[in-house]
Symmetry: C2
Subunit: 309 residues, 2 copies
Amino acid sequence: MKTVRVFAPATVSNVNCGFDVLGFAMEGPGDEVEITLTKGKEVRIVSIEPEGVNLTTNARKNTSGVAILSFLDQIGEQQGVDIVLKKNLPLGSGMGSSGASAAAALVAINHAMGNPLTKEQLIPHAMEAERMACGSAHADNVAPSILGGFVLIRSYNPLDVVHIPSKADLWCTLVHPHLELRTEDSRRVLKSEVPLKDTIAQTGNIAALMIGLMMPDYKLISRSLVDVVAEPLRSGFIPGFSVMKSKSSALGALGFGISGSGPSVFALSITKEIAEAVGIAIHKEFSAHDISSDQFISAISGRGARVID
Amino acid sequence: MKTVRVFAPATVSNVNCGFDVLGFAMEGPGDEVEITLTKGKEVRIVSIEPEGVNLTTNARKNTSGVAILSFLDQIGEQQGVDIVLKKNLPLGSGMGSSGASAAAALVAINHAMGNPLTKEQLIPHAMEAERMACGSAHADNVAPSILGGFVLIRSYNPLDVVHIPSKADLWCTLVHPHLELRTEDSRRVLKSEVPLKDTIAQTGNIAALMIGLMMPDYKLISRSLVDVVAEPLRSGFIPGFSVMKSKSSALGALGFGISGSGPSVFALSITKEIAEAVGIAIHKEFSAHDISSDQFISAISGRGARVID
C-alpha cells in the first residue's frame, strides 16, 4: 500500500489590485495530506488532525476528498484512497485554507498514481473542491498553492492560468485575527457593478504590478498595490484596518491589504526584518481592539505543494 | 534664430484590454513640427500644411501651440516661437493625431531651449493640449508618442507613466476608414459602470498582456488582446468590424481592435507579411461597405518623437 505525504502552503489571493485574478504562495504555514492507496474502491477520510477541528470526514464534503474524487473521475480509475488530513490552517481565514487541503490532496494522489496529470491539470480538480466549499469554483488560492509563486488567472472560461515570472524577492506578513467573517458576507458587500473610473484604475495598477514584479521594480510594486474595488467595501469588517495600513507603510512595507476575502490581512516587504516589524504592529493593533491574532512571516515561495515523504 | 524640426508618430491607444491606460507608438506615419525661436514674445502658428486642413492657426486652439505655451509657462520663459505644422495624420481618426502634434511641438521646444525637461516631464504639457482638443487630459496617446514603445498610464492622479519593457517584436496594421466618428460620440456610448465580472476579465487580460510583452510570449499576447469594456459598445460604429476581426485572426494576426476611440482599427502581428495581408483584408472589407480607407503598416517603434533636423 503506497503512502504519500504532501505539504501545500497557505496563499494570499486578490493581492490588492488583483481581485479574483491574482494570488501567491507562502513558504509556510500550510496543510498536510497523507494518502494511502488501498485495495478497496472507496475514498475515505480516516482522520483529521488536530482533534476537534470543525470539518467533516465525509469525503464528498471535504475539499481533500472532493479533489481526489474529481481527479480519479478524470483519469477513469476507481481507486481506494485513505486520507489523513493535518489541518494547520485556520478555517475561513482568508489564507486559502480550503484550497491548501485540496492542493495537497491532488499533488499526493497524482504522485501516488505516477503523475498522470501535470500540476496545471490538477487545478480544475482543486477548483471543484472550492466550488463545494465556497460555492464558487475560484482558482486564485488553489493555483498558487499548487504551482507556487505569483499566479495569474487570466480567464476562467476557458481556464487560463499563467505563472508570473516574478524576479522580486518579497517577504509576506500574514496576520489572522480571531474574528469570524464568512466568505458569503464578504462577497455580499461587493457591488455587481464597478464605476468605469475604478475599472481603469484597477487595470492600471495590475498592469504596473506585473511590470514591477518582473523587472523587479520595488517602488512600482508599492505604487501598484492599491485596491479600489474590494477594499473600500470590505475593510470595515476588519477593526483597525486603516491604522494597520498606515503603520505598515511607515515601517517600510510595500503594501498592505486584505488577504483573500479576509479577515486575515497581509503586507509585502523587501526584508524579513521589515516583515516582522509590520507583523508586530498589526498584532498590537488587533490587540488594541481586543482581538487576538496569529502571525506568519514567510518568503513568497516558488515551490508550491510538495511531497515531503 | 534657432530652428528645430521634430517628427512624432501616430499611436494606438486602449489596445483592447488597456482602456484608457495603454498605448503604443508606430514607427510612422506621424506629424512634423518645425519651430523657430524668435526675438518676439509671441507663440504663433505661421503655417499649417497641407493647405486646406481644417485646423486653426490660433496657437491657443491648436495642440502644438497649447503644448508649447504650457511648457513655456512651466519653465517661466516668455519666448517667441514660430510654429510650422506639417499635419500628416488625419484628424479625429483614432490614430493619436492631436497628440502627435503636441508631442512633436514639445520635443522641438525642449530641444531648442536646451532640454530643460525630461521626456517624461513633457507629458503633462501634451495632456493640456489634449484637454483643449478633446475635453479630457488623457495621456494614452501623447505618452507613447513622446516616449515610444508601449506605455502604461498606471495612474492619472498623481500622474504615473510607466514605459513597458516589452521584448516583443510586433508589427501593427493601422487602417483609417474615411468615416466621421467624433470622440464625443464614441465616449457617449460608454457606460459609467462596468459589471464586476468584466472588470475582473479586463484586469486578467491586461496583466497577462504585460507578461506576454515582457517574456515575450506571443500566444499569451494573443489570448490577452480582448476588450470586454469598450469594444462591445463601440464596434457597432465600424461597419464590418466582426468580419475584419475574424479575417485578421484567420490570417494569423495576434489581435484586432479599435484604435483609440476609432474609427481606425488596428491589428498586431508577428511579421510584416501578416500585417500586410491583414491590411489588405481590412481595406477590402471597408470597400465592401463603400468606405474608402488608408492603411499603414509599421513596426512598433521604441523611438517616439525625434528631432529630424
